[in-house]
């Protein structure tokens, strides 16, 4: 009913390559953006910002970075948490060494540090694939977290061993640190996520995206159509780790406010991997759907039963959360390996055909 594609004709390849071949998709996205930019900030409470909106965006970004590597280029990685850590620590050092540097520049630059580390730990991918590569990236995970703990210079020889985000102003508004308001930080994160998502969509639908997918689907054939495997894989590691690093910097500067090394340990890597798997590997939209599910689930478990008068203590919420996420992952791997993004694609297909079954 809403998705009528009749009458929408393409008369040029340019129109055919448009981001939204169906007009209703563009309208839907417009509605979502209106909600994200206007409706949510007007209505949300401090708790909603901190517990839902900001983490959803940051986790989406981290999952997007991982998805570029795993979903598009087919290189399995378990080091996402550590690469986020590299972004966070790099941003922290940049801000402490150059206090007058604009925070946007600092965050954008910290991505390059994690990208460089990502390429370094991506080098084994030239020789090994699949699970073996996953183990190699696991080495990055353990090594980097160890480094964050042991190298005191990284946290400015702080006695607590943690990094504390100072108050940072941008154009007269405090955007990070204890004085920053949740709404400012939400807008900051939202803008960064929107820009990077647009870039990621453009890269993945063009030549480079096709090269990544070719390497993922059949690397020998990719080589024989002239794709340089080494460059293509390392580029995937570079772009992926860049995005993940940015997500890590936002994670600490715009949300947590402080971080210890073990925050970036393997549970974080798994969390991001689960978001990417539940959302859908090889999809941009999936990262957002997955992040919404994973971040909202504990909040829903904590609040919905209480609304019905059933008392649930916080330990129970935690246990239920882990159990449900575990069940979901198993269910998705069996029923729909392409995740929530595929579900949406199927629903959309039904809407287009509605009311006819075929």
């Amino acid at each position: 009913m809403f998705y009528r594609t009749a009458g929408q004709f393409k008369s040029s390849y340019e129109a055919d390559h448009a981001l939204f071949p169906v007009r209703q998709d563009a309208i839907l996205l417009g509605v979502i953006l209106v909600f994200a930019f206007i409706v949510f900030p007007v209505t949300a409470s401090e708790f909603t910002f901190r517990a839902l909106l900001i983490p959803v965006l940051i986790y989406s970004l981290a999952a997007l970075g991982l998805n570029i590597l795993t979903g598009y280029a087919g290189q399995l990685s378990l080091g996402t948490g550590a690469f986020m850590g590299v972004g966070a620590y790099a941003c922290y050092k940049l801000v402490s060494i150059f206090p007058e540097m604009n925070i946007v520049v600092a965050i954008a630059m910290s991505g390059f540090f994690s990208a460089a580390i990502g390429v370094l730990f991506g080098l084994p991918s030239l020789r090994i694939k699949g699970f073996y590569l996953a183990i190699a990236t696991l080495a990055a995970q353990f090594f980097l977290v160890w480094l964050f703990q042991k190298w005191a210079w990284l946290y400015n020889y702080n006695a607590s061993g943690a990094i504390q985000v100072p108050n940072i102003d941008m154009f007269g508004i405090t955007v990070a640190g204890p004085r920053a308001t949740a709404m400012t930080q939400y807008y900051f994160v939202l803008c960064v996520v929107c820009v990077i998502t647009v870039f990621a969509i453009n890269i993945t639908r063009g030549r480079i995206g096709r090269m990544w997918k070719a390497v993922r689907d059949m690397d020998i054939a990719a080589e024989l159509v002239g794709i340089n495997l080494m460059h293509t894989k390392l580029m995937a590691f570079f772009v992926s780790s860049y995005v993940v690093g940015i997500a890590g910097a936002l994670f600490v500067f715009m949300w947590r406010g402080a971080a210890e090394a073990n925050l970036f340990d393997i549970p974080l890597s798994f969390r991001v991997l689960f978001i990417a798997i539940i959302g859908g590997l090889g999809s941009i939209l999936g990262n957002f759907l997955g992040a919404i599910l994973i971040v909202a689930l504990p909040v829903i478990i904590g609040s919905v039963p209480q609304a019905f008068g059933i008392p649930v203590d916080s330990a129970m919420v935690e246990h239920l959360n882990i159990m449900i996420i575990g069940a979901l992952i198993i269910a998705f791997l069996i029923i729909e390996p392409h995740g929530l993004a595929r579900f949406w694609a199927m629903i959309r297909e039904k809407f287009i055909l509605w009311p006819f079954p075929h």
């Binding site: 390559h17 063009g206 096709r210 689907d217 024989l224 159509v225 794709i227 460059h231 570079f238 090889g282």
Partner: protein, 274 residues
């Protein structure tokens, strides 16, 4: 971060070799894996503009020969001269840069991608816009995309696969997959096209279609073709010259008629009492 070969290598379809001149010259090539000799001292040439068939019983070394030609294997002995340039070893993506494309015996398509994307992937090396332009999409990157899309659509029209443009290739029947794979190879605009059993597992009608495409590619585009095929009827009708391998050795070389009447070939295919 520049995964493309030198563009000057790509834009040289006119390499000074006239039609009928030697395009590829394989000289005394031997290839072995440990103790197994796959190819023993084989020499063969491919002339520009011809259809050259490589035949032989199973395990004769035909596919190994193609793998040597496009740089997938490095022979232990012998040299290969392609377009007047001699080389011992090269990477497959460099072979593409010099104008060699191939298809596989068992289809090697990118299964998760649509037909259109598969063929577009064949043009990756010809697209030049870097990641910065790709990020912006609008402007040069989009213009380039459309320019190549037009070329790809020509191939799609030629191979009559318009109806499966958006279908993920993993869902296509085998005969169409073979056709898409040919399309991907054509998108690379090769000087030399290597086809490894293009008609394996096809029914008569599909074989006729494929034969027609191969002849059209050869005659309209002037592409030189080297193919491996087991269907003798097809081989004898299509090819200008045939080389016969058996146990890694060359046993005959010549026009289809000469080969057909060669005693060694008859022995190799029918077997001889020892």
């Amino acid at each position: 971060m520049n995964p493309r070969p030198d563009p000057s290598e790509l834009t040289a379809p006119d390499d000074g070799i006239a039609r009928g001149g030697v395009l590829l010259d394989v000289k005394n090539v031997s290839l072995s894996f440990g103790g197994v000799k796959a190819i023993t001292d084989i020499s063969l040439d491919v002339l520009k503009g011809e259809i050259r068939a490589i035949i032989g019983p199973n395990g004769a070394g035909k596919t190994s020969m193609l793998n040597v030609i496009n740089g997938f294997y490095t022979p232990q002995e012998g040299t290969i001269v392609f377009r007047g340039r001699e080389r011992r070893s090269m990477k497959p993506h460099q072979a593409v840069g010099q104008g060699i494309a191939r298809t596989f015996q068992n289809v090697a398509l990118f299964k998760g991608m649509s037909t259109l994307d598969n063929i577009m992937a064949g043009r990756s090396v010809r697209m030049k816009r870097n990641i910065g332009w790709q990020m912006l999409w609008h402007g040069p990157a989009l213009r380039e995309e459309i320019e190549h899309r037009e070329k790809v659509e020509e191939i799609i029209d030629f191979l009559e696969i318009q109806h499966i443009r958006r279908t993920p290739v993993g869902k296509l029947p085998y005969g169409l997959q073979k056709r898409v794979e040919l399309g991907r190879a054509l998108a690379m605009e090769p000087t030399l096209l290597l086809l490894d059993e293009p008609m394996a597992g096809m029914n008569l009608e599909e074989k006729e279609d494929m034969s027609r495409f191969i002849i059209d590619v050869n005659q309209q585009r002037g592409t030189t073709i080297a193919l491996i095929e087991h269907d003798m009827g097809v081989v004898m009708d299509l090819s200008d010259r045939v080389v016969v391998l058996d146990y890694g050795k060359k046993i005959a070389d010549g026009s289809p008629d000469e080969v057909k009447n060669n005693q060694n070939v008859i022995d190799a295919y029918l077997g001889v009492p020892h």
